[in-house]
């Protein structure tokens, strides 16, 4: 019990400072960097603001996310995130992934080269609420919307109808979408944490107008500066269909793995 109380205190403290918890309302401590193989690079720009970006996709899809903590009252912390994406170069690359200079220029193309990809930007905005629960758990609720500009001339037939991809890019075709989510972060053992989350994407007015995503993840914290995560993602999505149905529902379960590092 004597060991337990300090561990709990440190965990809650670190948790509320948002260490390794990008999905919560907590921001990183000033000056701390976190980065993973697949997770974005995060930087604590000040005590109540962090900035992040996806490094791999940044090469073809410049993006930046700002998380601002607005309120910390009692156990409640309220923040907002604002993310800006410029997906045009990535979508163009997906029309000819190997480049036109290599033989078979359309090999691995996920979007037909016949479509014109216009300059577009997408802006995602989320309000995030986090509250510690008993037993070292943190509950987070999210609600937000995304807007896209410049996609008016984008052909509806150019969608990539795959899990995770279709509903995230849908904002470019539809102009807007809504997103809601809940996360539960917790600790199973001294150096093993878990994350269970769910997200709902709603795209009113478009075929394939809903996706529900659920993630379960276990993380082994080897040190405050390195951790390994393993889990799964389940995606229940409504996708476009033709006669006799307008839509079709599909479920996919995908494995997740990530390595993350940090420095202060």
């Amino acid at each position: 019990m004597k060991k337990f109380i300090p561990a709990l205190f440190i965990t809650v403290l670190l948790g509320q400072q948002g260490l390794w918890q990008p999905g919560t309302a907590y921001t990183l401590p000033e000056g701390r960097w976190e980065y993973g193989l697949f997770q974005p690079v995060r930087w604590g720009q000040s005590e109540n603001r962090d900035i992040s970006f996806y490094k791999l996709s940044s090469l073809l899809m410049p993006n930046v996310t700002l998380k601002q903590r607005w309120l910390k009252k009692g156990e409640w912390t309220i923040s907002s995130t604002h993310a800006l994406y410029y997906p045009t170069p990535l979508l163009k690359r997906l029309q000819s992934p190997l480049g036109m200079e290599i033989g078979g220029p359309n090999m691995f193309a996920l979007i037909s080269p016949e479509f014109e990809i216009p300059p577009m930007v997408a802006l995602w905005n989320m309000a995030i609420f986090s509250k510690p629960l008993y037993n070292e758990q943190i509950f987070t609720g999210k609600a937000g919307f995304a807007l896209a500009f410049g996609g008016n001339d984008l052909a509806l037939e150019s969608t990539i109808d795959l899990p995770l991809v279709y509903h995230r890019l849908a904002v470019l075709y539809n102009g807007w979408l809504l997103r809601f989510g809940v996360d539960l972060n917790g600790r199973m053992k001294k150096n093993v944490t878990y994350l269970v989350d769910s997200d709902l994407f709603l795209i009113p007015g478009m075929k394939g107008n809903l996706a529900f995503e659920h993630k379960g993840m276990l993380t082994w914290e080897r040190s405050p500066r390195f951790q390994v995560s393993l889990g799964y993602k389940m995606v229940y999505g409504i996708y476009p269909d033709g006669y006799p149905n307008e839509n079709i529902a599909r479920i996919h379960i995908l494995p997740l793995v990530d390595l993350q590092w940090a420095r202060d």
Binding site: S112, E114, D161, L162, G242, R250, I253
Partner: protein, 423 residues
């Protein structure tokens, strides 16, 4: 009820647990059993009236196996592969009309038609020097309307369709088998996919399900999909995402006929090795098997083979796209895939056994004439080769075989029809 359900109700009724708590407690006990020392569930809820020990714990690792099974088998495969013989997918029209009608004068009208997944002559990248992959719903619906109109005009009793799509991004995910059943007088269908994948990572093709279908006015009792050999001239990665062609064999319940079969196939178009020989052999053996059992059949499809004695075996120049060049080597090569019909010994005579053994819709001497050509890659030109056939072990009414060449803009293949006399 399984013991999980029994346990759930026991926990709900005896211990007045709320549903969520009962589910959690039941799951914990089922997975962990009653381990030494007890879990929080056993400590709180096991007592003399409820023997927790009756729940055998799962073996260590069982939950992990369940999770892994969900991950790897819980969802559709990226690419669908097939057994050598599988049941075909059966269909039924929304409204059944004229079911059970006895064929007039014991004759039935049969049609074979490659409908090019209902894009008419639009410039598809794969077969006509086109640059398009994905077609709009309006474009596909327009073509389907024209195809249905032609079917309704000719009023066949049984149709052998090739290149018919369902759940394909390129054709707006329209289930063309169901649509054609719902918009013609055909009542029943059987479908066998030759290309099925959640995504084809090339040219933006995306999700696809394309294949052969048999549509009939009479009920299809059973249907099987017979796998044809895969191409032997492709690398492993291409082969994984490439077509898996088939022979579709359906038993049709025509009133007064005990054992009537329809057999449909679409042989390889682009193989440069002897894969086509294997496809025609399998098709022929399927017909032979039916015939030797004393049953009757109508058969056909897009055999991607020219009739024996055809004027030309080389259509490379006719099919050539801009920036392509052929016949530049000393030996006359290279040749365009799909346009050259002399890739291996005896390829020009590939259909001779079929002509020798069975009755064709179009007699051999007519099949080599221009009025029975069924294919061209260029919609602005005329039909220039015959690739589509109907054969039967019954007799064909004299002069009833027709090649409907007035369908030039409906597909890159013309439909062939014939009137077959039932025994």
């Amino acid at each position: 009820m399984n013991h999980c359900t029994v346990l759930y109700f026991e926990l709900r009724n005896k211990y007045r647990l709320k549903p969520a708590a009962a589910i959690t407690a039941a799951a914990t006990l089922i997975i962990n059993g009653n381990p030494p020392g007890g879990s929080w569930v056993t400590r709180n809820y096991c007592n003399k009236s409820w023997n927790c020990n009756k729940f055998k714990p799962m073996r260590k690792g069982t939950p992990l196996i369940i999770i892994l099974t969900m991950i790897f088998f819980g969802c559709e495969p990226l690419v669908t592969t097939f057994d050598d013989i599988e049941e075909a997918v059966l269909y039924k029209a929304k409204n059944i009309s004229g079911e059970g009608v006895v064929p007039q004068n014991s004759k039935i009208e049969v049609m074979a038609w490659n409908i090019r997944f209902a894009i008419g002559r639009l410039p598809f990248f794969g077969d006509s020097c086109g640059k398009r992959t994905i077609f709009t719903e309006d474009e596909v619906m327009d073509a389907l309307d024209l195809i249905a109109a032609k079917v309704n005009e000719l009023d066949p009793d049984i149709i052998l369709f090739q290149e018919i799509d369902r759940e394909s991004k390129r054709s707006a995910y329209i289930d063309q088998v169901q649509w054609l059943l719902d918009h013609t007088d055909l009542n029943y269908g059987a479908y066998a996919s030759m290309w099925q994948a959640q995504v084809i990572p090339s040219d933006g093709i995306g999700g696809i399900d394309a294949g052969n279908a048999i549509l009939s006015k009479w009920e299809i009792e059973s249907a099987e999909r017979i796998q044809l050999p895969l191409r032997g001239d492709q690398d492993a990665l291409t082969l994984l995402f490439y077509l898996r062609r088939n022979v579709l064999k359906a038993k049709i319940a025509i009133p007064g006929q005990d054992d009537f079969y329809a057999v449909n196939t679409h042989s390889t178009a682009f193989a440069t090795d002897d894969t086509k020989q294997k496809h025609i052999d399998t098709f022929y053996e399927t017909l032979q098997d039916i015939d030797e059992n004393g049953y009757v059949f109508i058969s056909g499809g897009d055999l991607n083979s020219i009739p024996p004695g055809a004027d030309s075996t080389d259509f490379c120049m006719e099919d050539m796209c801009s920036a392509e060049s052929f016949h530049t080597d000393a030996d006359g090569g290279p040749h365009r895939e799909g346009s050259y019909f002399n890739n291996f010994v005896n390829e020009p005579m590939l259909l001779e056994p079929l002509y020798n053994a069975y009755t064709p819709a179009i007699p051999h001497q007519d099949a080599v004439t221009s009025s029975h050509m069924t294919h061209s890659t260029d919609g602005s030109a005329q039909w220039d080769r015959k690739l589509d056939y109907i054969f039967t072990n019954l007799s064909v009414v004299e002069n009833s075989g027709h090649t409907h060449q007035n369908t030039l803009m409906l597909s890159d293949h013309a439909p062939v029809t014939a009137t077959v006399v039932l025994p």
